[in-house]
Point group: C2
Chain length 129, copies 2
DNA sequence: CTTGCAAATGATAACAGTTATCGTTAAGGT
DNA sequence: ACCTTAACGATAACTGTTATCATTTGCAAG
């Protein structure tokens, strides 16, 4: 049986904040504010459970820890190749459809399409000159 | 100064084999066949150097070690969510162009577009029923 | 209410993948 | 031949994640 615990509720609530793609550590530090005794293991466990229930999505970058977000309408991500920051990009649904309109893809059992844009974020461009 | 060593030449040659997206460990085991004294550290170092020279590309999956390939014409990847296997998918260039034709993307300093398809590969579908 | 049970937790050990360190090797220029 | 130094091999250190286990917690039967 799966229980909706206070820990999971808090983690999901943090994840629901807009325009944020926190790591496990960031979720942990935020969760500690309301649940001072929470463990990192609990964050790993609950984020995994939320993913199984399709309430959360895992985002992997080229380096560093995985990031997570509340599952929402399909969208793309811009990833900074320097600091790993993630930014939502809302591309036209028609673009996704045109990708799916491909014989090879339809033969594979494709469940999800991930579109990622790589580059240097504004902060890193200004910092490193 | 950057030297073209025998180790790097061998690693690049292995990477050049078609339709393969090896991990560092797989590259290491292959390289050992011709260079029995090679170290894993050398594979990590050289794959990194090849990436800097844009001769190799890193591919990260949802789990497991990174995979690599010789840099070639832009294409998409199908990734099995169970075994992590990678398969090349050649999508229409027009799809990529239509994604790039987006105000938000053009404002970001986008350098690369990564398109990944997630699902269960044929092997895993047949194995797990 | 107690009590019993199983799910979930917190703490922490173990693991996997990667990066850093360091003494040694060897390529290439003089 | 000798010198310089990039690159090497071995391995320690580090980071992110998963596994383990004793303890706690929420629920339900008695
Ligand atoms: Mn997002
Ligand atoms: Mn490929
Ligand atoms: Zn950045
Ligand atoms: Zn598979």
């Amino acid at each position: 049986m799966v229980r909706m615990t206070e820990q999971r509720r808090v983690i999901y609530e943090i994840l629901s904040r807009e325009a944020w793609h926190p790591t496990v550590d960031e979720l942990f530090l935020e969760a500690k504010k309301s649940l001072p005794r929470i463990s990192q293991a609990t964050v790993y466990r609950n984020i995994e459970a939320l993913i199984q229930d399709d309430l959360a999505t895992k985002i992997v970058g080229l380096n560093g820890p995985a990031r997570f977000e509340k599952t929402k309408a399909p969208h793309a991500h811009f990833e900074c190749r320097s600091c790993g920051a993630i930014k939502d990009i809302f591309i036209d649904t028609e673009c996704i459809n045109s990708i799916m309109d491909n014989k090879e893809i339809q033969q594979c059992a494709t469940e999800t399409i991930v579109v990622k844009l790589l580059g240097l974020c504004q902060v890193c461009r200004e910092t490193n000159i």
